[in-house]
Amino acid sequence: MSDINTSKTPLPIDIPSALERIGGDESFLFDLINIYVEDFTDKFEKLKAAVEKGNFETITDIGHNLKGSSANLSLPLLQEISYQFEIAGKERDLEKAEKNLNLLKEEFHRLKIFLQNRD
């Protein structure tokens, strides 16, 4: 997990904080992460399609939604990038949305690697 991590980049998931929020049950946290991963994959495809079509309303909605679930699981960068989609959608800024699409994909990948290494 040291390959991507730099001193400035936070871990993709703040496990202690997520655990505290949901009441300390670790296996439940991993159930939630699985739900998140599955949901993310679906939403990412929809987001990509929305960006291609320039469908700003969908970009805002999915951005908002992903921001919420990322926050619930203490995924700081995923939360922030999702928020950028919400803004891009509201501001009808397609360039910003396109740029964030890659960032989102990379950060999600980083989360997956982190979780795999943890196993």
Partner: protein
């Protein structure tokens, strides 16, 4: 972690984010709530039509109908029971909170939420619901006290007369006749005088119970006076009044009544009438007609029923 306080209170979760939905669901189940899930506002609205749902957690941002719109819809709906609503939102600006509460939410939680905070807020909601339940229960008790005869558990005099009036109104619109039967326990005074009021009460209760079981499901029966009972019979011609009156007479005289001093043979006198073929008739007029027939039944030697076929002509009754 199960709380025995919640006694399976039904809570609706309206949330489209699967992670948040799962957190809410698991925790609420752990705390002893019965959880119903809706993925969007429209499904939530359908689920809310169920009277049992007393508490709801709405996400603000949802497809189709959002949480705020849902709050507004719930508050516009006329329901006896109150639905306590917690709005779940990642919006924490003051004006958002004001908007959320103004739409009809009782409380709000800012996402990402802490489960302990959620638990405490649900308990607040439960306190309000418990208070309303107590209030509804008191209301129901008062309604019963105001409309029921405490001894026989039949409708009291005012209520049976009111029901009869309502039935006459409805039936005149539908052009259908309404029947009445006035029932009197023969020699009831003698039962009271020889065995005491307690035995008289036992007899009255048993007669009331038998009659109630032998009227039609939509008929109504009340205690009209001391030992006089009044039956209101919707959609009832004279011939059916006669049939029912005879049935009621039989169910009482055919089997002795068990009391603390032993079995007592009880008979009834009954007077029936119907609004059939009457252009306009009031509840009072119909009761009077039954009363005249009852008087006639007593003159005929009791333990019988008389039907007043000619409301206008049978005038030689009492009073």
């Amino acid at each position: 972690m199960k709380s025995d306080q919640t006694s399976m209170l039904e809570v609706l979760i309206a949330e489209d984010d699967p992670v948040s939905q799962r957190i809410l669901e698991k925790n609420m189940k752990d705390w002893g709530y019965k959880v119903i899930i809706a993925n969007n506002g429209q499904n939530a609205w359908q689920a809310l039509q169920k009277e049992e749902i007393r508490m709801a957690v709405f996400d603000w941002m949802m497809p189709k109908i959002n949480g705020v719109q849902l709050c507004q819809k719930v508050r516009l709906q006329k329901k006896d029971t109150y639905t306590y609503i917690i709005l779940l939102t990642s919006r924490d600006r003051q004006e958002d909170i004001v908007e959320g509460l103004s739409s009809g939410a009782d409380d709000y939680i800012v996402k990402p939420f802490n489960t302990l905070e959620l638990k405490a807020r649900l308990q607040t909601g439960k306190r309000i619901i418990d208070l309303q339940n107590q209030l509804l229960q008191s209301k129901k008790q008062l309604e019963t006290l105001a409309t029921q005869d405490s001894l026989t558990k039949l409708w009291n005099r005012a209520t049976i007369i009111k029901h009869l009036g309502e039935e006459l109104n409805r039936s005149s619109r539908e052009k259908k006749p309404v029947g009445t039967i006035l029932v009197d326990i023969d020699y009831f005074k003698n039962i009271n005088d020889s065995h005491g009021h307690h035995v008289g009460d036992e007899v009255l209760i048993e007669v009331a119970s038998r009659l109630r079981k032998h009227i039609r499901s939509y008929d109504k029966i009340g205690r009209y006076g001391g030992d006089e009972l009044l039956v209101a019979l919707p959609n009832c011609s004279l011939s059916i009044v006669k049939e029912i009156a005879e049935r009621l007479r039989k169910v009482v005289c055919e089997k002795k009544i068990k009391t603390e001093i032993g079995l007592i043979a009880v008979t009834l006198s009954l007077g029936g009438a119907s609004s059939e073929n009457q252009s306009v008739i009031s509840a009072e007029g119909l009761i009077k007609a039954s009363d005249r027939a009852l008087y006639q039944a007593k003159r005929n030697g009791r333990n019988c029923m008389v039907i007043n076929r000619h409301i206008q002509t049978l005038k030689k009754g009492r009073k």
